[in-house]
Symmetry: C2
Subunit: 128 residues, 2 copies
C-alpha cells in the first residue's frame, strides 16, 4: 500500500540554515565540509551537503561572508569562509526574530499564559 501522507520531517534550510552557518563563522573561519559536520554535531536536523555549499555561495553573493582558497593543509583545497560586517549585523538582527519565535513556541507548550498586553483585539473570537 502506497504511503499517501506527505512527509513533514524536520529539515534545516532557509533562514535557519543561513543563520546557523553565519553563527558558526562568528570569530572563526571555516570551510563547507567542516560546517556541514558541525551542523550535524549540533543536534540540528540534517541538511544535504550540496545545499550547504550552495547556501554558502549565496551568502557570499549577498555579502554576508567572503571566501578564499586555503591550500596550506594537505588534501583537497578548502574554500575558507569569513563572516563580514554585514553578516554580523544580519546575525544580530536575527536574534530578535528568534526571541519572538521562541516566545511563541514555548508559550504554546507550557500552559501558555496569555501575554498581559495582547488582550484587546479581534482574536478574542477564537473558538472554544
Amino acid at each position: 500500500m502506497p504511503d499517501d501522507t506527505p512527509e513533514l520531517k524536520p529539515r534545516l534550510h532557509g533562514e535557519m540554515l543561513s543563520t546557523s552557518l553565519l553563527a558558526f563563522l562568528k570569530g572563526w573561519n571555516a570551510y563547507g565540509y567542516q560546517l556541514a559536520q558541525k551542523l550535524a554535531a549540533a543536534g540540528l536536523p540534517e541538511s544535504d551537503s550540496g545545499t550547504v555549499y550552495r547556501t554558502l555561495r549565496q551568502l557570499e553573493k549577498s555579502g554576508m561572508v567572503s571566501s578564499f582558497w586555503d591550500t596550506s593543509e594537505s588534501g583537497p583545497a578548502r574554500r575558507m569562509y569569513t563572516l563580514t560586517k554585514a553578516g554580523e549585523l544580519f546575525l544580530s538582527g536575527w536574534i530578535d526574530v528568534l526571541q519572538n519565535y521562541q516566545k511563541i513556541l514555548h508559550g504554546a507548550l507550557e500552559g501558555f499564559l496569555p501575554p498581559a498586553d495582547d488582550a484587546g483585539d479581534t482574536s478574542a473570537t477564537a473558538a472554544r
Copy 2:
C-alpha cells in the same frame, strides 16, 4: 544605478512559519486571516498571505491540522483550523531543534564560550 546586491531581507517561511502556525493553534481554533495578523503582531518577519493560506493547506494534507468551514459569523466564511494530535507531537519535537538552534545563535553572539564537551575533533583546525 541598478542595485546589484541580492536581498536577504528576513522573511518567515518553511519550518519556522509552519511551527509558528501550529503553536498559535495550540488550545485555540483559528482561521488563516487571523493567524496572518497574529504573525505580524508577534514581531516575526512578514509572510505573504498567500503563503500563509498555502502553508495551512499543506499542514492539513500532512495531518498536522484539520479544518472546517465556519459560517456562524457574518461576513465571508472562515476556514477554521484545529491542531491535531500529530501536529502537537511534531510541535513538541520541534522544541528540541529550536533549543539547539538557539544555543548556536546565542553562543555566537556573547563571547561564545567553547562548549566543554565539543573540544576534541577536527574542528580544532579552524583558522585564526
